[in-house]
């Protein structure tokens, strides 16, 4: 535990020296953050490898209530992506957001504080430090999102994020109140049998879904995610997407570890929400032409996949099938780790691209694969992993969930596992389409604008973290046996009392590695076969004899996705302007299309606007005189006192 706390202190202080230094602030913060990350990872791996669970009770006096920090397997597992991704982000920030950019010092400071809040939050097993860490995370993330606050869209994104995160925190206060009422103390511990089926248990579940779901970005509470992740600097987006939204999942995992007998409908609701988030997330991603918004919607989709796994595991737990429980939970947890790795990688790659080209618009890029080969390779690795294709890590976690749902086919009366299966298959196919679009439009073909043509490769400080994350993806994909014991321990911590089988007996991981190696081996042999004959590389692409082909004739991102977006238009409601060509000799016509966020545009915005209009009716109370306001306070106080004694 001391090792872990040392790590927390180190990462927290990583931003402070940069305030005073003129030149080396980024390097110092990266060194401190990496040092803290290595120490924290050591402490976490020690617990995951079978070490003892470390606890620390906080002294009562300063915070007026006892606090409890526990480094149990669940916390240790979630600590892995936290430390790894934050260290990578700090290293990336050296080259990406140096002191010449605006608010660099604030950014480094807030990043360090965010790291500390996250690390603190993970090990909290008492309501008070949990909420402190939660609020710290929310506020520092707000500061980070608003780094470029001179842009109005950034300010709007930060505002929406702040409102949503505090609404979720409000629900969390309710959660902890119910916990206190049920167990009599504020420490996290198992709840008695039969609690989950009671009215209070239902309220607890709904509030947890609302509060943690808001943070995780579950549909329909996702609408703060795309603007916030697009507006933040890219290494911050990678931390937010990779780690922060997983804190919502951590909350749900802790909830599931308290309940020994979840009712059937809990798992069904989780699966339904997972399917909804997954399919709609990737559908909305298809319609985006802003690279970072696209990646943000994919985070929503992957949260959907994680919820599918959690729902499957809960169904297994409630019907007494430990095999399905293990597979579902293991798949969900591994996907938490995997997603943070490859989504972090993708955002860092996107940051490199945006940094060089100067815009986030997909339609203004192209041909960057020749000009930025390393970034392109890293982004390809990330796309490969996020589509869940073998032999990388995305496939392994989805494989566990598939295995669980296939096994469940024989058990349940209702074909819930079929929902999981079909959703995963559909999500996989649509994700492949979306990332083919993203990678193809950005890195392949010819540059569509001059800025893209003038692009250059990123500095090494930005390439190294991408390499680290890509290496981690490949390692987990090729050797999943390394993480299986850790997953066993976390799943056992989640299912107190049930007999859980080790993962290695349920899923034949060595065969997977063997086939992955066979795949790579045969690919290598074929590559060698292609090499010997020398080839000519000086011709343009075949264009059917049309002599004046130019880069603007390439397929654009919107046209690539048009088939699917059109097919899904009943759920996406895309908007298009212009493009009407009339007459025999038509002139140039402008055309613009976009897919706005459905919940934000049609539900949240109009609702808040009507609320604002209604609220102006209450303006007459606002006289402008300070004395009147103070009189209101006094009257409220008197009313409350009189009501209390009456």
């Amino acid at each position: 535990m001391n090792l872990y706390l040392l790590a927390v202190v180190l990462v927290m202080s990583s931003g402070f020296p940069g305030i005073f230094l003129r030149r080396w602030g980024g390097e110092v913060s990266a060194v401190l953050m990496s040092l803290g990350a290595v120490i924290g990872l050591t402490a976490a791996i020690r617990v995951l490898a079978g070490g003892p669970v470390a606890t620390l009770a906080l002294p009562p006096a300063p915070l007026a209530s006892a606090g409890l920090l526990t480094l149990d397997p669940i916390a240790a597992f979630f600590a892995l992506p936290v430390f790894l991704l934050l260290a990578c982000a700090a290293i990336y920030g050296i080259g990406y957001w140096d002191n010449h950019q605006e608010n660099a010092r604030t950014l480094r400071l807030a990043l360090g504080l965010l790291a500390a809040s996250l690390a603190f939050l993970i090990v909290s097993t008492h309501a008070l430090p949990f909420l402190l860490g939660w609020e710290g995370m929310a506020i520092t993330a707000f500061i980070l999102v608003m780094t470029e606050d001179r842009l109005p869209e950034t300010r709007r994104a930060g505002w929406i994020y702040l409102v949503c995160t505090h609404t979720g925190t409000l629900a969390l206060f309710g959660v902890f109140a119910i916990l206190f009422a049920a167990s009599g103390h504020w420490t996290f511990s198992g709840l008695p049998q039969g609690f989950a089926a009671s009215g209070r248990g239902t309220a607890l579940f709904v509030l947890c879904l609302f509060g943690f779901g808001f943070k995780a970005g579950v549909m329909p509470l996702h609408f703060w995610l795309p603007p916030a992740h697009a507006a933040a600097p890219s290494h911050i987006s990678s931390v937010m997407s990779g780690v922060m939204i997983k804190m919502g999942i951590l909350g749900l995992v802790r909830l599931l570890s308290w309940i020994p007998d979840p009712p059937f409908w809990w798992g069904a609701v989780l699966m339904a929400l997972g399917a909804l988030s997954g399919i709609l997330g990737v559908a909305f991603a298809l319609g985006q032409h802003d690279l970072k918004r696209l990646l943000a919607y994919h985070s929503i989709e992957n949260i959907g996949i994680i919820l599918l796994g959690l729902g499957l595991g809960t169904l297994g737990k409630s019907t007494g099938h430990p095999v399905i429980q293990v597979l579902g939970f293991a798949g969900a947890l591994l996907h938490v780790l995997n997603h943070s790795l490859f989504k972090g990688l993708l955002f860092l790659g996107a940051g490199s691209v945006v940094h060089t080209v100067g815009t986030r618009d997909l339609e203004r890029m192209g041909g960057l694969g020749r000009r930025m080969p390393w970034t392109s390779a890293a982004f390809l690795a990330g796309s490969w992993a996020i589509c869940g294709l073998p032999p990388l890590n995305g496939f392994v976690s989805e494989w566990f969930i598939y295995l669980g749902s296939f096994r469940a086919l024989g058990f349940f009366r209702w074909p819930w596992s079929l929902v999981v299966l079909t959703s995963l298959a559909l999500i996989g196919a649509l994700a492949m389409a979306c990332f083919a679009k993203a990678y193809g439009t950005v890195f392949q073909g010819s540059p569509r604008t001059e800025a893209a043509g003038a692009a250059h490769e990123s500095p090494r400080s930005m390439l190294v973290p991408m390499g680290i994350l890509a290496g981690a993806c490949a390692t987990i994909g090729l050797a999943p046996m390394l993480v299986a014991p850790a997953l066993d321990r976390v799943v056992a911590a989640m299912g107190e009392g049930t007999q859980v089988q080790p993962l290695s007996r349920l899923a034949h991981l060595p065969s997977l590695s063997l086939l992955a190696l066979a795949l790579l081996g045969s690919a290598y042999l074929l590559w060698r076969w292609l090499r010997p004959l020398d080839s000519r590389r000086s011709l343009p692409t075949w264009d059917c004899g049309y002599a004046a082909a130019n880069p603007r004739m390439q397929y654009t991102a919107s046209s690539f996705a048009d088939g699917l977006v059109g097919g899904l238009r009943w759920v996406l409601w895309p908007r298009a302007h212009g493009g009407k060509v009339t007459g025999c000799f038509p002139v140039d016509q402008p055309f613009e299309s976009h897919v706005p966020d459905l919940v934000l545009d049609r539900l949240a915005d109009p609702a808040f606007r009507s609320l604002a209009t209604g609220a102006t009716l209450l303006r007459f109370f606002q006289g402008g005189k300070v004395h009147i306001y103070l009189l209101y306070v006094l009257l409220t106080l008197l009313t409350l006192l009189l009501w209390m004694v009456a």
């Binding site: 006096a61 606002q622 006289g623 005189k625 006094l634 006192l641 209390m644």
Partner: protein, 211 residues
């Protein structure tokens, strides 16, 4: 000296405060109240704890010397010596203060306290000081007298905190001192800005900020 005596003096000082129209007099009364409040924990017999002694010393220094010092400097800058034409006249405010004290006594009688508390006069004193502070905030026009009203409000909350001073001394101290500092700083900035914006510290002009 019994704590009840000091507490009664505090309640009396509230009446004096509400009836005066001179700013200097109001500040003097605030000083006296501050010193009285600082001495109450000693009178309650808690002097044997070293951190309470420290708290007493800090309270007397801050409430008795430091904040009145800042306020007197502010008076020198803005040259306000009298509060003229408040929203609620002096006689009426005196009657309201008496009404508030009576109400506090009734309310305190009906609010149950943990058994074993020796100084039960703390609660009505706290409530009445609270009301007095609010009354000054609501009825006075000049920003400086409003600051004094805010300080009296804080005194009332401090009295409440004295009920808990044995169990959570740090909490009471930190909360109150922090509040005071923040309040004084904010009020200082507000007074300065009102003066530079409107060439006057009459809070009536703040109403122009309404949209």
């Amino acid at each position: 000296m019994s704590p009840d005596f000091l507490i009664a003096l505090t309640i009396l000082s509230n009446f004096v405060l509400v009836a005066t129209s001179r700013v200097n007099k109001a500040i003097q009364v605030a000083v006296i109240q501050g010193v009285l409040l600082g001495l109450i924990p000693l009178a309650m017999g808690l002097g044997r704890h070293p951190h309470i002694l420290f708290m007493v010393a800090a309270t007397i220094t801050v409430k008795g010397w430091f904040i009145p010092f800042l306020l007197r400097r502010a008076i020198q800058e803005v040259h306000i010596h009298r509060e003229v034409d408040p929203y609620v006249g002096y006689t009426v405010s005196l009657m309201l203060c008496a009404l508030g004290t009576g109400l506090s006594l009734i309310l305190a009688h009906m609010l149950p306290l943990k058994g074993g508390t020796k100084v039960i006069l703390l609660v009505p004193a706290a409530l009445s000081t609270l009301f007095t502070g609010f009354l000054m905030l609501v009825s006075r026009r000049k920003a400086l007298t409003q600051v004094v009203g805010y300080l009296i409000l804080e005194n009332g909350i401090f009295l409440f905190g004295l009920l808990l001073v044995e169990d959570m001394p740090m909490l009471v101290e930190t909360g109150i001192l922090l509040d005071l500092f923040v309040g004084v700083f904010v009020m200082g900035i507000v007074i300065n800005h009102i003066r530079t914006a409107f060439d006057s510290t009459d809070t009536r002009h703040l109403a122009e900020l309404k949209d």
